[in-house]
């Protein structure tokens, strides 16, 4: 687990969260740039259109000005022609131009309404034009009345020359103004176009940078992720290995203990055979001695010593009896250890167990004892089925029920109740009795090997409950006890619903 924690902090300078935050920021920034660029591009394009409009406007104005000056020059030229030749053709030409000129001026005025300078020029031009036109008109009328007379002299022709040059000058000024405007507007348009280009290029560059950054981040993130996954896999494998190793260690240790118990109990048996054997031999040898003593007492009571009689008749048999009972007890203990160790080595074979039927079987086999002791055994309600090792489960429950029968409260008819229920983690069985109960101080002790509790008035070696608990542990369950002295006991056994088959069948 330590390795797992280190994984998050140490494998790279940027944590996953940082990278995610950076990526989000980059995406947001990119989106913002796109929006800004689109908006500014739209704005710039609109501005460009406006500038183009203005440039076109200038061109229109210039066109009108030039048309005006053309018309003006044509009127002047036509008048001259007429005055010189009195040709009607010139008169018609003059009239066309003269009528067009004020209209053109009006159009110019309308077009340049936004430009005070042009307006001023036009305002200046207006009276000049009308006076010029009047002059022209007058000279034309005069020429007409003179009718076919001699051509007008040069002085007459040139008499309004200052007016004409004034008009020409004004027109030139107007053109100059328009040219100035055109230049400004063209410059603006160019600048605008450059701005647009710059904006688009900048945005492109920024987006490119962002994408490169994002790609780098994503690649690094992916690399980190791969690294983490590899690390995780490695750690997991290590973990599994560690668990397997630990399990193997435990199994080995358990096997060792079982083998140890087995060997010890076996090797203890050998000397015990000798002790018992030679005790019996002693007893056998004692018989001729006793016979001899009896004979001596009959034939020569004088030499039959009191001490010898006591030794042969009471001390020897008494000693032999003690040796016998002790060795028998030792034999039982060794057998108990052997049985436990053999139980521990037995391979468990799970099968589906009808617990109702199983308990009925146990109760039937104990019926004789129960009747003898005036006790009744009740199985309450349906019992949940389990899948477990039949022999082990039978041993557990028959042991517990036997104990309940054995340790009944004297003078109170025994009543033993068996019940069971399913719980989320498995099943629980309860063996409740109204027997003599167990003092709280002994609740743990009674499960230990060779330990017993209460009055030692029943045969037994203190093996039953140790055996029961060892079996329950092997079955993957647990056992607890509720008991009060003189009130009775309830043993509560929880077992898994399904016993997993032994992984190691190395019995």
């Amino acid at each position: 687990m330590v390795a797992l924690y280190r994984l998050g902090a140490g494998s790279s300078a940027l944590s996953t969260q940082d990278i995610r935050r950076l990526l989000t920021a980059a995406l947001l920034l990119g989106a913002t740039i796109l929006v800004v660029v689109s908006l500014s591009a739209a704005w710039l394009v609109a501005r460009d259109q406006e500038y183009t409009g203005w440039v076109n406007h200038t061109y229109t104005v210039e066109r009108h000005i030039s048309r005006f000056s053309v018309l003006f020059e044509r009127a002047e030229a036509a008048r001259r022609g007429y005055l010189l030749t009195h040709d009607d053709l010139y008169r018609v030409g003059y009239r066309g131009s003269a009528t067009a000129l004020p209209k053109e001026l009006e159009a110019l005025q309308a077009l340049t309404g936004d430009n005070p300078r042009e307006l001023a020029a036009i305002t200046e031009l207006e009276p000049l034009l009308s006076s010029k036109l009047n002059t022209l008109q007058a000279s034309m009328r005069e020429a007409q009345s003179q009718s076919m007379a001699a051509p007008t002299d040069a002085a007459t022709l040139e008499q309004d020359q200052p007016l004409v040059s004034q008009i020409r000058e004004l027109l030139a000024r107007m053109v100059a103004e328009e040219n100035r405007l055109l230049q400004i507007r063209t410059e603006r348009q160019t600048a605008n176009a450059e701005l647009l280009l710059a904006a688009v290029l900048t945005a492109g560059a920024l987006l490119a940078l962002l994408s490169i950054g994002a790609v780098i981040l994503v690649r690094r993130y992916a690399a980190d992720l791969d690294g983490s996954q590899n690390e995780l896999r490695r750690v997991n494998e290590g973990l599994e290995q560690a668990v397997a190793d630990r399990t193997a260690d435990l199994t080995r240790a358990n096997d060792e203990i079982q083998r140890f118990a087995y060997i010890v109990s076996h090797d203890l048996r050998s000397p015990l055979v000798n002790v018992m054997g030679f005790t019996s031999e002693l007893e056998l040898s004692l018989k001729p001695l006793q016979a001899l003593l009896t004979e001596v007492e009959e034939k020569a009571p004088a030499i039959a010593l009191k001490a010898a009689r006591e030794a042969v008749q009471s001390d020897f048999p008494e000693s032999i009896n003690f040796i016998r009972s002790s060795t028998r007890k030792m034999d039982r203990l060794i057998n108990a250890i052997l049985k436990l160790s053999r139980e521990g080595r037995r391979t468990l074979t799970p099968e589906q167990l009808d617990m109702g039927a199983l308990f009925s079987g146990i109760v039937d086999s104990l019926q004789h004892t129960a009747v003898e002791r005036g006790a009744e055994i009740v199985i309450e309600g349906p019992l949940p089925p389990i899948s477990s090792d039949r022999l082990a489960v039978e041993q557990v429950f028959s042991n517990l029920i036997e104990n309940a029968l054995k340790y009944a409260k004297p003078g109170r008819p025994g009543r033993i109740v068996v019940r069971g229920r399913a719980i989320p983690t498995g099943v629980v069985f309860e063996i409740e009795d109204n027997g003599r109960g167990i003092a709280p101080a002994d609740h743990e002790r009674i499960f230990e090997l060779f330990r017993r509790s209460g009055a030692q008035d029943q045969p037994g070696e203190g093996i039953g409950l140790a055996h029961v608990r060892a079996l329950i542990y092997r079955l993957g369950g647990s056992i607890t006890l509720d008991s009060e002295l003189d009130r009775g006991s309830t043993f509560r056994i929880s077992l898994p619903r399904t016993l997993l088959r032994d992984r190691d069948s190395t019995a």
Partner: protein
């Protein structure tokens, strides 16, 4: 008789004698000397004819089953009756001994009366058992 526990050996011998068997009993407490006698002893079974082997499985220097294998692998000895008399009552071990050619397998009872009884019966059994001639 190959038995590492002198007490057991003595008890076995006494009870066999009580059953009326008077044949010579050679007692060995380890496998090496026992095998040496069986194969090389002047009055051993290989050189001197019929015998019966009483074998304990828990020996200090080798396993009783090794001795059993050796005995049963030699032509001259393979019909020699072998009685395994041991404290081991492991089913696998018992099966293995019979597989290796052991003729009788007896678990030493801790209860002496039963033990003595078993040995005496073995003695009676030995009295009527027919031992094959050693193939010359």
């Amino acid at each position: 008789m190959i038995e590492d526990d002198d007490g057991h050996a003595r008890l076995i011998e006494r009870n066999i004698r009580r059953a009326g068997i008077s044949n010579t009993i050679h007692h060995f407490t380890d496998g090496t000397s026992a095998l040496d006698f069986i194969f090389n002893g002047a009055d051993g079974p290989v050189l001197n004819g019929p015998a019966m082997v009483l074998l304990d499985l828990n020996l200090p220097d080798m396993s009783g089953t090794d001795i059993l294998t050796r005995i049963k692998s030699v032509d001259k000895l393979k019909r020699t009756p072998v009685v395994v008399l041991t404290t081991t009552d492991d089913k696998v071990e018992i099966q293995r001994c019979y597989d290796l050619g052991c003729n009788v397998y007896i678990t030493k009872p801790v209860n002496y009366e039963a033990f003595a009884d078993a040995i005496r019966q073995l003695g009676l059994f030995l009295a009527v058992i027919q031992v094959p001639e050693v193939v010359e």
